[in-house]
Structure formats: structure tokens, C-alpha cells
Symmetry: C2
Subunit: 234 residues, 2 copies
């Protein structure tokens, strides 16, 4: 029974939209479900983080030891980088620095052994300013993001993916192809279950291709010899 | 910033009801969501497996190297063990052997460093014979399980937990406390989303207690010094 014994790893690296991706209807849970008996899905989402902070953490949060068994990775920053510098300078990262940080993250993943086609850069989602303004008022902070500005980061993300020959999901544009796109957000900034599943719809082909390339770990129960299970299993 | 850098592990070991636990509404995904920024949830569910085959795989599927960082584990066999010996002798495990296998699994987890109160034995779910019979007819096999027989395995599971001072979830009994319990199954044997969430309701207190005992990994974004993020992060 020549079946792989090693559960490979799928790494999800990003901000809060990655961190909460195992919520009901979440895209991270969908990935884990698709990769059952093949990969462990490792969530490295950090709420509120921008690509600068993610880049600084690279050797710690994505150590080479973790990456050596990793066969797919998503990189999903930008929603915080795109904060307006005059309102939220702490989170703000210029679009040029955002691109440079994404490049450094991809280079690190490549150093860890991933091929460019095993890496998916996800652009920040579109922003519903009307809803997000309400959240800002509730939090007693100034309105700190604009959809058009977030679009610049989205285009930069897609460009980095082109330059480095990785895959990308242009979530900002994909969402807005739907007239009713605001339903993809729960608070104007973060994904609703519908938004999470829209993202998954565009990630799924890459994860499916991976799943099809990997053998199931441990034999199917029906092929185990009940009189000598050790021979089948070990 | 004295924050833990190591993502601990939560291990889910069992049969198909564990393997599919990241489906929408699944209890494994709920565990991963609750433990975000604290633990990686490692799914070691094997569809169709009984406790004998799980026990044989122990040193391979739950190696000590994996267990050393593990802080909670669920063990969830019995639904296949309780196959009727005269109909499905390949999957059948006697209730005595089932108990012995559970004990061996718990002892292995303890050898790996887990305390008994970090281990949760889950009993097989109740069986809706009417629905499962339909599945058997569709598969052109003889009806191979009986609810009352599965109940014997459930009681054995609870007894092992008492003997070894681990936690347990008596899912078979809990389900049947609800007059409308058949809705907790999708095909008479496997959990529906409602059943998965019923199980989660009874697991949640243990996972919550664990989550409360663990620090969040990496600082909250609001405590990062934007002028010197390295000092906060590294």
C-alpha cells in the first residue's frame, strides 16, 4: 500500500480576513474541508496587521521548517495597508512599500521551497464606505479608508503576482462585478459568509488542482485487510 | 512584549465524523475558529475506520513529536466498531476490544504529555435505523447497524472516560434527549450541521477553558509601535 504518510501543509497568511476564515461559511474552513486526508491548513492570520508587520515576522511566522512541507500558500494583506495616512498613520503602508513587502513575502516562500504557482496573492476586498463609516462612528474614530484608494492596492497586488508569476485573486474587482456587491461585506470592510464563499469560488480551482495531485493519506477503509490490518496500515 | 510564539495543537482523532468536521457548520471548524491565534487544529479523521485500525496507527498518526505541543485532543470512534458482526465483520470490533483500544489511545496521548483533563472521548452518535436502512439499500448492502447496539459502545466509551479520568461527551444519549433527535443526522449515521453544532455545544466549554488559558500569539495590532514595529514583534 504505497500511500503518503505525511500530511502536507497549506498556509494562509494575512490579516483578520484570514484569521477569521474558519468562521461558519469561511473560506479557510472550505480549504481544510477540500484538503481532508491530504493537508493540514495552517492559519497565520493576524487581525489588524499590515504587510509591513507581516514581512517583519516572516522568519518567525513562516519558518523554513514549516514551509518545507507546504504545498500551497495564500498571502492576503492590503486592507490595513490601505488606511488613509492622514487619519490612520499607524496602519498605513504606501502602495510602493506594500508591493515591496508582498515581493519579500513571495521570495521567502520561494526560499522555503514553494514554486510561484503554489502561491496565491489575494487583493484586499472592495470597501463599502457607507457601512464602514458607521463602524468608525461607533468606535469614535475618523473614517479611515476609501474604496478607490483600496483599489490602488488591489491593482498593485495583481501586478506583483504578474511580475513574480504567482497566481492572484483580484477580489476588489471580482466583488464589484456584481451590482449587489455590498452583500459580500459584513461591516463594510470584512467579508460576510457570502463574500467568503465568493473568494473561495476563486481560490477553489487552485486547491482542487492540488488535492487532485495528492494521494489520500492512509488507505481507504475498504482496502484494509481485516484479518491483517497491520499489513495494510503500516 | 511577552507573548507566546508557538501555536499549540488541538488534535481531532477519529473516523469520518471527524474527517468531515470542517464542512459548513462543522464542529472541527468551530474549534479552529475558537482557537484562532492560539492553536492549530490538526484533523486526524479517517473515514470508515474503527478503533482497532486507529489504535494500530497510533505511533504514526499521533507521533510523540506532534503530541508534545498538543494541548487538547478529541477521540471519536465507535460508529464503525458497532457494525453488526454477522453483517459487517470487517468493520466490527467487540465492545470489549473497543474499550481496550480507547484505553490504549488515551495511554498513548498521556505518554505524549497530555493530562487526562486535556482528553475528550466522544461516544458514537445515535443511529436512525430507518434512514440508514435506505442508505444500505442504495449501496446494495445489508442493514449493518442497530441503535441499541451502538448504545452499548456509547456506554463503554463513557465508562473508559470515568476509569481514566478524561472528559467525555455521551453524544448517543445527548442526542436522544431531544424528541426530534433524528434531525441531528444527515443520513441516519453521520451528523447533520445541526448535529455537528450539538456536539460542538458540548465540546465548547473544554475548548473555551483552554482558549482562556492561552495567550494570543503575536501582539494585538493596537499595541505595536508603528515607529519601531520590530521592537513589538520580535
Amino acid at each position: 500500500m504505497a500511500c503518503k504518510r505525511l500530511y502536507r501543509k497549506a498556509v494562509l497568511f494575512g490579516d483578520s480576513i484570514t484569521q477569521v476564515s474558519f468562521e461558519e461559511g469561511g473560506w479557510g474552513a472550505s480549504a481544510a474541508d477540500l484538503l481532508q486526508r491530504k493537508c493540514d491548513v495552517v492559519n497565520r492570520g493576524l487581525s489588524g496587521y499590515n504587510s509591513r508587520w507581516g514581512r517583519i515576522l516572516l522568519p518567525h511566522i513562516l519558518p523554513l521548517d514549516l514551509l518545507k512541507d507546504t504545498v500551497i500558500a495564500t498571502v492576503f494583506f492590503g486592507a490595513n495597508d490601505a488606511s488613509l495616512p492622514e487619519i490612520a498613520p499607524d496602519k498605513y503602508v504606501s502602495v510602493e512599500d506594500y508591493s515591496a513587502n508582498l515581493k519579500e513575502i513571495v521570495e521567502h516562500l520561494k526560499t522555503g521551497g514553494l514554486r510561484p504557482d503554489q502561491i496565491i496573492l489575494i487583493s484586499p476586498p472592495a470597501l463599502n464606505g457607507e457601512e464602514w463609516r458607521k463602524v468608525c462612528i461607533e468606535k469614535d474614530v475618523k473614517m479611515n479608508r476609501k474604496n478607490e484608494n483600496t483599489g490602488r492596492y488591489s491593482r498593485a497586488c495583481v501586478q506583483v503576482a504578474k511580475d513574480l508569476e504567482t497566481h492572484s485573486v483580484d477580489l476588489w474587482s471580482i466583488m464589484q462585478e456584481d451590482k449587489d456587491w455590498k452583500r459580500y461585506l459584513c461591516d463594510g470592510l470584512h467579508l460576510s459568509p457570502a463574500g467568503s464563499q465568493l473568494l473561495w469560488k476563486h481560490l477553489e480551482k487552485h486547491f482542487t488542482k492540488l488535492a487532485e495531485s495528492l494521494e489520500m493519506i492512509y488507505p481507504d477503509w475498504s482496502s484494509i485487510d481485516p484479518d491483517n490490518p497491520e499489513a495494510s496500515l503500516l
